[in-house]
C-alpha cells in the first residue's frame, strides 16, 4: 500500500508542482504581504503591521460602495447564469432539427476573452454610435441617443450581460452532460406513474443534476466575485463608482496606488469570502462530500 501511495504521489507531482507554485505560493505570499505596510510610494515605511491593512481597507472611502457593487453584481449574475444555463442545456438536450447548431452556438462565446466581449458591449452601448441606441431609436423606445453607461443600472446591466455572455457556455455544457447521463427509463417510469412535468423536473432532473448544480454554483460564484475585465473595459468603475467592485479597487490599490499591503489584504479577503461561500453551498445543498454519479 505504501508503495502505491508513493507511486501515486510521484505521478501527481507534475500537477502538484505548478499547483503549488502558481496557486498556493502566491496565495501564501499575498497573505504574508497583507501583514506589512508595503507601499512602493513609501518604501521607508515598510514593516510588519499585523492586521492593520485589513482594518484600514474596511475604512477606505471605496470599501462599502465597492462591496455593495460586488454583491449587487453577484446577486444578479449568479441566478441568471444558473437558470439560463440549465434552461439552455435542457433545450440543447432535446433532439430537433438544428439542435447541433444550437449546441455549437451556445459554445461560441466561450472562446471570446472577457476583454474582447467587454469592448463589444461597450460599443453596443455607446452613447454616440451604439447599436442599442440605434435600435431603440428606430423602435421609437427613445427619442434621442442615451448615454447608457453614465446611468447606474444600465451600466451595471452592460457589465452583467457581457459577463454572462462569456460565462454561460461552461455551465450549459456541464448541465448538458448531466442531462444526457440521466437514464431515460426514469422519465418513462415517472410518466407511467402519472408524474407531471414539474414533478419530473424536481424528482428526476434536479435530483440527478444536484452535484452539477453545486459545481456550477461554485464556479459561477467564484467568477462573479473575481470579475474584473468587463468593469475595466466597459465602465472603468463608473458611473461615479457605481460599478467599481471590490476587485476593481484591488487592482487600483495594487497597480495605480502601488499599495501592495492594501491590495493583498483585499485579495485575501476575497479569497476568504470565496471559501466561506463554497462551504455555504455545500451546506445548503447538503452534499457533505461531493460525489459525482458513476
Amino acid at each position: 500500500m505504501k508503495g502505491d501511495l508513493k507511486d501515486i504521489l510521484i505521478g501527481l507531482l507534475p500537477a502538484l508542482i505548478p499547483l503549488f507554485l502558481l496557486g498556493f505560493y502566491p496565495l501564501g505570499y499575498a497573505a504574508y504581504v497583507s501583514l506589512f505596510r508595503f507601499n512602493l510610494k513609501y518604501p521607508d515605511q515598510y514593516g510588519f503591521i499585523g492586521g492593520k491593512n485589513y482594518v484600514d481597507v474596511t475604512q477606505m472611502y471605496y470599501f462599502i460602495g465597492s462591496l455593495t457593487s460586488s454583491v449587487i453584481f453577484a446577486l444578479v449574475a449568479i441566478p441568471i447564469i444558473l437558470f439560463a444555463s440549465l434552461a439552455l442545456a435542457m433545450l440543447a438536450a432535446r433532439k430537433f432539427r438544428g439542435s447541433g447548431f444550437l449546441q455549437w452556438l451556445i459554445l461560441v462565446p466561450w472562446g471570446i476573452p472577457y476583454v474582447v466581449a467587454g469592448l463589444d458591449w461597450k460599443w453596443l452601448f455607446d452613447s454616440n454610435y451604439g447599436l442599442i441606441n440605434d435600435i431603440l431609436l428606430k423602435l421609437k423606445v427613445i427619442d434621442t441617443y442615451q448615454p447608457w453607461l453614465t446611468m447606474q443600472w444600465p451600466a451595471m446591466f452592460a457589465i452583467v450581460i457581457s459577463f454572462i455572455w462569456v460565462t454561460l457556455p461552461l455551465p450549459t455544457l456541464l448541465f448538458l452532460a448531466g442531462i444526457q447521463s440521466i437514464p431515460q427509463e426514469l422519465y418513462e417510469a415517472s410518466q407511467v406513474d402519472g408524474a407531471k412535468a414539474l414533478a419530473r423536473f424536481r424528482a428526476i432532473t434536479f435530483t440527478w443534476l444536484k452535484p452539477i448544480f453545486l459545481i456550477v454554483a461554485i464556479l459561477t460564484t467564484l467568477s462573479s466575485i473575481q470579475v474584473f475585465d468587463p468593469i475595466y473595459v466597459i465602465t472603468q468603475g463608473g458611473p461615479a463608482d457605481f460599478t467599481a467592485m471590490i476587485t476593481f479597487y484591488t487592482f487600483l490599490e495594487m497597480f495605480n496606488f502601488l499599495d501592495f499591503g492594501h491590495a493583498s489584504a483585499l485579495a485575501f479577503m476575497i479569497f476568504i469570502v470565496s471559501i466561506i461561500l463554497i462551504f455555504a453551498y455545500f451546506y445548503a445543498l447538503r452534499m457533505g462530500r461531493l460525489r459525482l454519479r458513476a
Binding site: 500500500m1 502505491d4 501511495l5 501515486i8 504521489l9 501527481l12 502538484l16 503549488f20 498556493f24 505560493y25 501564501g28 505570499y29 504574508y32 508595503f38 512602493l40 510610494k41 513609501y42 518604501p43 521607508d44 515605511q45 515598510y46 514593516g47 472611502y61 471605496y62 452613447s127 454616440n128 454610435y129 434621442t144 448615454p147 453607461l149 453614465t150 446611468m151 447606474q152 465602465t235 472603468q236 468603475g237 463608473g238 458611473p239 461615479a240 463608482d241 467599481a244 476593481f248 479597487y249 487600483l252 495594487m254 497597480f255 495605480n256 496606488f257 502601488l258
Partner: protein, 509 residues
C-alpha cells in the same frame, strides 16, 4: 450494490484518506519550507538605492578599448517606430553608447515601471508623468541631472514659465531631467457651427459668452450639446474641472492648497466650487452639455469633435492634429476636419498644462560617471539641444523634440522653437501655430498647485477611480439633484478636503 463492491469502495476510501493525509503533509512541508526559505532570504526592508553623486565612487575606467555603454530608455507604447528610429540615429552616431529601448505598455505603463523599480532594475531614463515622477522622487529612486550637470539649468531660460516647475524635484530643488513633450488642455471650437448659428467666426472671450453662444447654437438646432468636456472615467478629468476653474477665476494660484498643502477650496464660491457648478449648470440648466462627457477618453474626444457633436471643448492640443487631417488618398480624417480651430481659452485664458518628461532613475547614476554621462547625452538628444546627436546647447537644435512636433503634432515648452519657421509651417496644415503658442503660453502647471504629492493620484483619481473623480461625476450625472444644490457641492468639497488631510497624514505629511 454488492458486498464485493462495498469492500472495494471502503478500501478505496481508506487509501484516499491516507493519500489525502500524506498529500496534505507534503504540501504543508513544502509550503513551510518555501516560506521559511523566503523569510530567511528576505531583507527587512525592500531594496532602496543610495545615490552615488561623485565620480570618486565609480569603478575605474582604464580599459584601453571600451565596450559601448549600454543604457535602457523606457517608453510607453506610443510612436514606437519613431522612438526606434531616433534610437538608431543616436546609436549610429555614438559608438561608445548603445541605447536599448524598453517598451512598458500604454495602459500598463505605471504598473510596468513600478515593477521595474520594485525589482531594482528600472530603465536608466524613462518617460514620466508627474504622478509617476513624484512617486520615485519621494522614494529616493531617481537621479537629479543637475547634481552632476549643472548646465541643465540653462534650459530653464528657454522654457515657458508655466512648465518650469515640472522639471524640478520638490525634495531637492534640483532639475531632474528634460521634457519629452509639453502641451496643454487648449480650447477648441467649431467655426462652422458658430457661423451656422449666425454668431460669426469669433469664439467666445468670456465664460458667460461661451454659455450664450452655446445656447444660441442649440436653439438654432446646429447641435444638441454644443459644450463638451473631457471628463472621462480614464485620465484627464482634471481637464474639465481644473481648466474650467482656471478660466473662471482671476485669482492668483495656487488654487486648491496653500503652501503647507492645506485645502483652500472648501467654501461656497471658491474657484473649484464655481467650476463644478458651472459644468453642472451647463448640463442640467442650459442643457448645452451632456452627462456623456463623463465617459470621454482621448479617442472618444477626437471622435465627438471630429463628428461635430460639440462646438466647444478643452482637450489636449495634439488631438486637433488627428481631427484636422487628410489621408494619403485625400480623404478627410473626420467630418469636421479643418472646421475645428484653436482659440485662447475664454475667461482668464489660463489652461492646465500637460507635460511628460524624461526621468533618470537611480540606475543612471549607480554604474559610474561613464554610464551617467551616456544617459545625460541621450537625454540631451531626446529632450535637449544637439548637433549631429552630440550635446550642443549653444548652437544645437532640439532634434527629437522638433521631430515629434513636426511628425506627431506634439507641442513643446521651449520658447526658441516657436521661432523655427519649419516647425510653424508643419503645424499650419492643421492649426494656427500662433494661436496655439498664445494659448500654451498661458498654461498653468496644475500638477504643482503648489506642489505635487504622492497622494494626489489616489486622492484625485488621475487615471482611474480615486476619491474625487467619482464625486465630481456623481454631481454632474445628477445623482444628487439636477443640478446638485450648492449645499451638496459644498458637502462634497468638505469631504474632499477631509480625505486629502487623511491621506496626507497617512503619507507622513
Amino acid at each position: 450494490m454488492s458486498t464485493g463492491k462495498s469492500e472495494t469502495k471502503e478500501q478505496a476510501d481508506v487509501s484516499r484518506r491516507r493519500f489525502l493525509k500524506v498529500g496534505a503533509g507534503v504540501v504543508v512541508v513544502a509550503a513551510a519550507g518555501a516560506a521559511g526559505y523566503y523569510l530567511l532570504s528576505q531583507p527587512t526592508t525592500p531594496p532602496t538605492t543610495t545615490e552615488t553623486t561623485g565620480p570618486t565612487t565609480a569603478p575605474p575606467t582604464t580599459t584601453a578599448v571600451l565596450t559601448p555603454e549600454e543604457i535602457e530608455w523606457g517608453i510607453w507604447s506610443w510612436g514606437v517606430e519613431l522612438v526606434q528610429d531616433n534610437t538608431r540615429i543616436f546609436n549610429e552616431a555614438n559608438s561608445d553608447i548603445h541605447v536599448k529601448v524598453g517598451d512598458y505598455g500604454l495602459d500598463t505603463y505605471g504598473s510596468g515601471i513600478a515593477t521595474a523599480y520594485a525589482g531594482g532594475k528600472p530603465p536608466d531614463m524613462h518617460y514620466s508623468t508627474p504622478d509617476i515622477t513624484i512617486t520615485y522622487q519621494n522614494a529616493k529612486q531617481t537621479y537629479d541631472m543637475e547634481t552632476d550637470y549643472p548646465e541643465i539649468k540653462k534650459y530653464n531660460d528657454d522654457i515657458f514659465p508655466g512648465y518650469q516647475s515640472g522639471l524640478v524635484n520638490p525634495y531637492t530643488g534640483k532639475m531632474c531631467g528634460l521634457f519629452y513633450y509639453s502641451g496643454g488642455q487648449t480650447f477648441s471650437y467649431n467655426k462652422r457651427h458658430l457661423e451656422a448659428a449666425g454668431i460669426g467666426d469669433q469664439p467666445p472671450k468670456t465664460m458667460e459668452e461661451l454659455r450664450e453662444q452655446a445656447k444660441k447654437i442649440k436653439q438654432k438646432g446646429v447641435v444638441e450639446f454644443p459644450i463638451g468636456y473631457f471628463a472621462g472615467s480614464w485620465g484627464f478629468t482634471e481637464c474639465a474641472v481644473y481648466t474650467t476653474m482656471m478660466t473662471l477665476t482671476d485669482e492668483k494660484p495656487p488654487f486648491l492648497f496653500d503652501e503647507d498643502l492645506k485645502p483652500k477650496f472648501d467654501y461656497k464660491g471658491s474657484p473649484l466650487f464655481n467650476a463644478i457648478k458651472f459644468i453642472g449648470d451647463t448640463i442640467w440648466i442650459d442643457k448645452t452639455s451632456t452627462t456623456a462627457v463623463t465617459q470621454y477618453d482621448e479617442a472618444t474626444t477626437v471622435k465627438v469633435m471630429g463628428s461635430g457633436k460639440h462646438s466647444f471643448i478643452w482637450m489636449p492640443d495634439y488631438e486637433l492634429a488627428f481631427i484636422n487631417a487628410t489621408d494619403s488618398t485625400g480623404k478627410k480624417a473626420s467630418e469636421e476636419a479643418y472646421n475645428v480651430k484653436f482659440a485662447v481659452s475664454p475667461g482668464s485664458g489660463r489652461i492646465s498644462s500637460i507635460y511628460r518628461t524624461y526621468l533618470p532613475s537611480h540606475t543612471a547614476n549607480d554604474s559610474g560617471p561613464r554610464h551617467r554621462d551616456a544617459v545625460w547625452r541621450l537625454m540631451q538628444f531626446t529632450g535637449g539641444k544637439t548637433t549631429n546627436t552630440k550635446p550642443d546647447f549653444a548652437s544645437g537644435k532640439y532634434q527629437v523634440v522638433k521631430r515629434l512636433a513636426m511628425q506627431a503634432g506634439l507641442a513643446f515648452p521651449y520658447i526658441s522653437m516657436w521661432d523655427d519657421q519649419e516647425i510653424l509651417d508643419s503645424m499650419k496644415s492643421w492649426c494656427d501655430p500662433l494661436v496655439r503658442k498664445d494659448a500654451l503660453a498661458l498654461a498653468y502647471d496644475f500638477f504643482n498647485d503648489p506642489k505635487m504629492t504622492t497622494w494626489w493620484d489616489p486622492w484625485f483619481g488621475y487615471w482611474l477611480g480615486g476619491f474625487v473623480r467619482p464625486k465630481l461625476h456623481s454631481i454632474w450625472l445628477g445623482e444628487h439633484g439636477k443640478p446638485a444644490s450648492d449645499d451638496y457641492i459644498l458637502q462634497v468639497l468638505n469631504d474632499m478636503a477631509a480625505e486629502w488631510t487623511k491621506m496626507k497624514q497617512a503619507a507622513g505629511g
